[in-house]
Amino acid sequence: MISLSGIVKTYAAQPVLHGVDLALEAGSVTTLIGPSGSGKSTLLRCVNLLEVPQAGALSVAGQTLSFTPQSRPARDAILAVRRATGMIFQDFQLFAHRTVLQNVMESLLTVHRWAPPKARARALELLEKVGMQHKADAWPGELSGGQQQRVAIARAMAPSPQILLCDEPTSALDPELAGDVINVLAQLAAEGTTMLIATHDLRLAAHIAHQVVFLDAGRIVERGSPQEIFAHPSQQRTETFVATLNSPLPDWVI
């Protein structure tokens, strides 16, 4: 289990997260929803310490790190957290100078010191899983956004992380390409991958998630099952936001 407690993050005296608590059961999928600037991405980045909080604690990979405003955790502790987590980004961020296969192998070779043949076999296995093995030797610049994101998922999953962090994984894609990415994420969820997904996409938030967390202005307003949050929210703020996500089409459509 991965847990965050009392997470406070401030940028230049501007508070972004005001003491957030979040527990992620092994094998569960949690989505973070909320308006832009609500702190979804920041909270996600606090899990792999791309952002280091000023207060609170993080438990991951069997160790607990406590944060203070004065000091950062030790470098090795930060690296250990990152090696136990995988992340995909809204804009993919594949390594532009490496082929698809090399992208997926990179962490295995450089960080986890696998022998190249073993890393290659693992990378090919993952590329097959995300349906990208036929592009193993392509450059990222030659792929569509949806293809790049699927490769990015394979890259993040290569070292078998304890959790996959997804920062708006479909926001840069048209709905059709996003569908391919969602299918891959749904498959990973079905296989028991622990995931934390910041998203505006209802297909992820409502269909794949076990737990939905609604964040507004750096605080968790409400959390619950997708049914609870989307059909029966208890807070007025949640209801207003959810209404904007699934605002109905005009009458003439039906």
């Binding site: 791309l50 690296l79 990152r82 980004f89 961020q93 532009a96 962490s107 450089t110 960080v111 070292p159």
Partner: protein, 226 residues
């Protein structure tokens, strides 16, 4: 055979020999040393605390704001008055390394900054250390951006090494001056020297094009506007 051609043929080998024995090594050592210095200076400007940044900014300001020939004279003819005596080749090498370092540091700094922030984050997210990120992700991508400008510096340097003649280094241009002084044929000698510099630069340019093509292989070609 016309006498000018005889002279040109007779002087060709001494000139080429001086070029291969001194101009080329001076260029290569200066460039490699200058690149290393430029890389370190760029890293200091980007990542070091303010006092270190102030020092390297002063260095860049000083080198870029003064003529290379004056710098070389200070190192070779001036420093002995301060008790530092260097042989001509070493003095020239130091001068060129300092010069190349100042100019390329700015190119390298800009190239490192041109790599998107997301590439740093993606590297961190898979657990790379700062040094691994630099070596595996940032430097390879920055190199592609820097190559055209660095090639300019390199080809300028090939020609700038002729300034070492003024420090008594018997490189190609110095040899040309010596032959011209005894044969009274400066036009032929200096044109011939220019030709050999041209050959050196052309070979180096061709080499640069190959490196650039290789570094660009992952970048899709731009289509001409329809």
């Amino acid at each position: 055979m016309p006498p000018w051609l005889t002279l040109a043929l007779h002087s060709f080998w001494p000139l080429l020999k001086a070029g291969l024995a001194l101009t080329v090594p001076l260029t290569l050592f200066s460039f490699v040393g200058g690149l290393l210095l430029g890389f370190v200076v760029a890293l200091i400007r980007l990542f070091a605390p303010p006092p270190a940044v102030a020092i390297v900014r002063f260095y860049i300001w000083l080198i870029r704001g003064t003529p290379l020939l004056v710098q070389l004279f200070i190192i070779f003819y001036g420093l002995p008055n301060a008790g530092i005596v260097l042989d001509a080749f070493t003095a020239a090498l130091i001068g060129f390394v300092l010069n190349v370092g100042a100019y390329t540091s700015e190119v390298i700094r800009a190239a490192i900054l041109s790599v998107p922030r997301g590439q740093w984050q993606a590297s961190s997210a898979i657990g790379m250390t700062w040094a691994q990120t630099m070596r595996r992700t940032i430097v390879p991508q920055a190199t592609r951006v820097a190559i055209p400008s660095l090639s300019n510096s390199f080809i300028s340097l090939v020609k700038d090494t002729s300034l070492a003649a003024a420090l008594t280094v018997p490189e190609m241009f110095q040899v040309a001056q010596q032959i011209a002084a005894v044969t009274y044929e400066p036009l032929i000698l200096y044109c011939e020297t220019a030709l050999i510099y041209l050959i050196f630069s052309s070979v180096l340019s061709a080499w640069q094009t190959r490196i650039e093509t290789r570094s660009m292989r992952h970048v899709p070609k731009l289509e001409a506007a329809q």
